[in-house]
Symmetry: C2
DNA sequence: CTGTTAGCGCATTCAA
DNA sequence: TTGAATGCGCTAACAG
């Protein structure tokens, strides 16, 4: 392998000059520069080794983003993709590459994190208590979190999930619904899913799940409805299929809920499929409200009522936080909006005066 | 900053032992190991510096993937996402991180490529003649390309786009269509789009675009139809909106085409929106065939007839090629399939015997 | 404009 | 088991 030094020696010039020929061509007489470049080509020099440069300069030129899931899984999540777009939108102009780091296998993740050449880490949706977090802190690089429980001293960006969920519940209450089902996201990475009771969520490792459940609870509480009185099903993964499975069970309870509070749009879309399979018309027989407002939410039929949150902006903001930690507030709370579309309507009981 | 040496000195042991304490804990007496780890913690040692280790070992533990577009754009492409899933599926088990590198700005891309700490590069859909390619070769790392013109000596994975496109044309011909419109993908990164003639495509820098056009040409040729006799519109970007714009123009030509050959599903979905806006029923008044079979193709109404290609598998294959270049054939051609759904039907003229 | 000097932090021989 | 020595390839000061 040819190095800087080889070409310096071959030419009888200093290593600095060779380095300059590549990095600061204007600090060199054009003639010398050309001779150096020519000789470099002749010797098959591949250009300054990026790793050696990093070692010398202390700059990696990349920022890492760690996902709680496996990467193929993460890519199936439209919310994560949009977030990534926001991150990329700020990294690209400042010439930082993006390094994707999965954290499903926590041991592997720790190794990956310890050996990633990055200038900082974005941490997405990690469950509480994950051993990945300590590994991250040990790297001593700037950190910022998105969509997870804020950690003191580390910039966090998120929305008020609890308030968003409460808004969903109130929307349904306002429409006259009184019998509810809840389809919950996973409580932790190894959930097997199934019917659960509200108190189980005390153990939830995912902040979004916990908060949204509390929001539903608070919202329903305004009508005197307790979580014990509602059917809760925890999905076993974030996909549409899991939502369908969940809804199939929830909708066979009696009395059948007239409204479903669903913690994510993907699950909600699955729930709509379940309703169709059961011959239930949405929203006539059943109202469904999702969460997130992923692009598909507006495209399904009927279009999904949901909570919109600004994933792209959130991505931009975390990226900026990692790039300039000093200038970043401890927690950035983004606004959310209830987007009322066609999947929610008046409670059927009401129509018959019950 | 604390280093290996600091802790070695503080403890009066060798640097080797400290290194071993972290990397080969079993090569050390448990007692010494514990003392080292304790002292490391005490001194605030962050663990072996990944960059220094890379320099020493020559392994970056990551593979790069370069996109022709900007990253936010690339992420909006369902095909790219699925490909990425495949790539991730093979990188994850072997503990390689994924480094995303945009190449829209070619100068910036060259710098990014020269300074990326990766063990190899996957190159996706780069236009022919891009200056990014030479920069990539100069790095002297394993390379593999997907969905672009194969370069001798570099493993390539793709499908036979030309044959796939020909299949689309024949399908429509078989249904009795004789008046066609073509909605083409971009010919190069700076296309402004608009109505074009077939010969313009001689200049196309994107292999998929060129090949698919040739395929349409060959297919239509079987019925004696020349490209001159069909309306061709080049979209100015890959998104649905561009497809709608294109179709709006194409469908206002007279005589109006009864069938649209569209080079991608995203454009085709846009074209369906255009048809709807013009009050044209698909497939009664207009047949549309896409390309790629992205997930949305099955979900739109009517469901899109299209060419399915195995993006996930393609991702796995390129990744494997970069990881083990020796074991890789020069070009891997994947199969494709015409998926006939509801967006294509008999030509309307035929019904009235014209 | 050009060269000299001095490490960046580590892992890997090899010998003890 | 442990340690000493060596250099991976580069760039940033600084001096000429």
């Amino acid at each position: 392998m040819t190095t800087l030094r080889d070409i310096a020696e071959a030419l009888g010039v200093s290593r600095t000059s060779v380095s300059n020929a590549f990095n600061r061509p204007d600090q060199l007489s054009p003639d010398l520069k050309d001779r150096i470049l020519a000789k470099a080509k002749e010797l098959g020099y591949l250009g300054p080794d990026p790793v050696a440069r990093m070692l010398r300069t202390g700059q990696a030129g990349a920022i890492g983003i760690v996902f709680a899931e496996s990467l193929p899984f993460a890519f199936s999540d439209p919310a994560a993709i949009t977030l990534l777009q926001g991150v990329a939108a700020v990294c690209e102009p400042v010439d930082k590459a993006l390094v994707l780091l999965p954290a499903l296998d926590e041991a592997a993740a720790q190794t990956a994190i310890r050996s990633a050449a990055v200038d900082g880490f974005i941490v997405y949706c990690l469950p509480e208590g994950s051993p990945v977090m300590p590994a991250l802190r040990e790297r001593g690089r700037p950190l910022a979190t998105v969509d997870q429980r804020p950690i003191p001293g580390i910039p966090a960006v998120r929305i008020d999930d609890r308030a968003g969920a409460e808004t969903c519940a109130r929307h349904l209450l306002d429409l006259g619904h009184r019998r509810f089902g809840i389809i919950a996201m996973e409580m932790n990475l190894t959930s097997t899913g199934g019917l659960v009771t509200g108190d189980r969520f005390a153990d939830s490792r995912f902040s979004g799940t916990t908060e949204r459940l509390r929001g539903y609870e608070r919202g329903l509480g305004r009508a005197g409805i307790l979580l014990d009185q509602v059917v809760i099903y925890e999905a076993d993964d974030p996909g549409e299929e899991a939502g369908k499975t969940a809804a199939l069970t929830v909708l066979q309870q009696s009395p059948r809920p007239t409204a479903l509070l669903v913690m994510s749009d993907r699950l909600a879309i699955g729930a709509m499929q379940a309703a169709e399979a059961l011959g239930l018309a949405v929203p006539r027989d059943l109202s469904i409200v999702g969460f997130d407002d992923i692009p598909a939410a507006a495209q399904v039929t009927p279009a999904l009522t949901t909570i919109r949150q600004p994933f792209f902006e959130k991505g931009r903001t975390v990226a900026a936080a990692v790039l300039d930690p000093a200038a970043t507030p401890d927690v950035t709370l983004f606004p959310y909006d209830l987007i009322v579309r066609s999947s929610t309507g008046p409670a059927p009981d009401r129509a018959v005066g019950s």
